[in-house]
Symmetry: C2
Subunit: 205 residues, 2 copies
DNA sequence: CTTAGAAGTATCCAGCATGTGCACTTTTTG
DNA sequence: CAAAAAGTGCACATGCTGGATACTTCTAAG
């Protein structure tokens, strides 16, 4: 099932594909994953239900494709630049917290959807695992930086610190604090930054 | 739909109900939520598919019922006693970390299932929210205790500290660290305790 | 400007899961 | 033993996915 669909050559095709992705995202954010049926998407795009399958082999593939779509639209790379441009590793850690608070809220719905769908769908699982590996790599880069500068607090290692950081990039955590606990993005960023520094950074009074 | 089903009076009925819950849990843990169809459960229990609906009005209600079932079987209350028996608030916080590492791994599959199902099913949502509120109340009790003893670090308040603690009781976090990062329960407990103390406790060298 | 091939439509279909209705049998219990 | 409760078997409506087929419409390259 769900054999990937080759890159569209046609301009018309590309436009339709984008329209489908945009409509899917909107529908997902407005009405949730359960309401996201192929029929509902088709109607919203103004295309036949059968037509969707010309662009996405399955519902799972469609949801999975949202992953990269929102990363582009919401500027994942751009937001990450702030982290690596920091002057030192503790500052980078703080920037990482702010990056989470800046970027992730915008993709929460998609994150959660991919996460649910991944259990059935190999395509979604692939996308999820790729994104996850990238996330973990970023975390490890942070802890390595800390270690190099001698700022990684006892008893953390590059590995265990990275794992901890990675685990806190969770739609459950971020969504819970924002939506259920009513934190603002600013509060989220500041407080995560605080947690990170106190937990991981040595000599940070 | 999914009108609740009244307390069974019959001994036979109670036995069957327990058998259904046990089989459901086993199936869920072995083969995941997707494989958890009413037909599969029925076969495993050795009861007709129709018979399940005599005990649980819907699949959602069945999954939701697992919540309390595992809490009983795995001794939620008993595990929590360690927390409140602690001599002081920082010790309680440490005990809380160990409680998470002791209890939660045993109910991860059920936690995740209820969380997914709750989006469709009102019954599951009710159960989830009740459990969640209890969780949050526990966290607040911890931060209140800290505050009373003057051990709550700047800039946390009873409320914001509780929210933070609450957000870290997440199957995504716990499951991720245990399963994907390969932490042992001991490591999880120790490291969470460390994170909690450094972040929330004042004057804890 | 024409024409081959791609994009898209309309309709039907099979598969599979949920949950309900109904007549029936078996077990429990007073 | 008799009534009530528990459980069975089967049929059925509904809702979704994804595949098939024959058809029309657009677009891109010669």
């Amino acid at each position: 099932m769900s054999r990937s669909i080759e890159q569209p050559l046609n301009a018309r095709s590309r436009r339709t594909r984008q329209a489908i992705l945009a409509a899917t995202r909107a529908l997902l954010e407005e009405r949730g994953l359960d309401a996201l049926t192929m029929a509902a998407v088709a109607e919203r795009v103004g295309v036949s239900r059968r037509g969707l399958y010309l662009h996405f082999a399955s519902r799972g593939e469609l949801v999975a494709a949202l992953f990269d779509y929102v990363a582009g639209v919401e500027g994942l790379e751009r937001s990450l630049e702030h982290v690596w441009a920091a002057p030192d590793s503790p500052a980078a850690l703080t920037e990482w917290a702010h990056h989470l608070a800046r970027y992730h809220p915008n993709v929460l719905a998609v994150d959660r959807a991919v996460q649910q769908v991944r259990t059935h769908d190999p395509d979604a699982r692939r996308h999820y695992e790729r994104a996850n590996a990238a996330q973990l790599a970023n975390c490890r880069r942070l802890t390595r930086w800390l270690a190099r500068e001698g700022r990684l607090a006892e008893p953390w290692t590059e590995e265990s610190g990275a794992a901890l950081l990675w685990s806190l990039v969770s739609s459950e955590v971020i969504g819970g604090l924002l939506e259920e606990q009513g934190w603002s993005r600013e509060e989220l960023g500041e407080r995560l930054a605080l947690l990170y520094r106190r937990t991981l950074v040595a000599g940070d009074g």
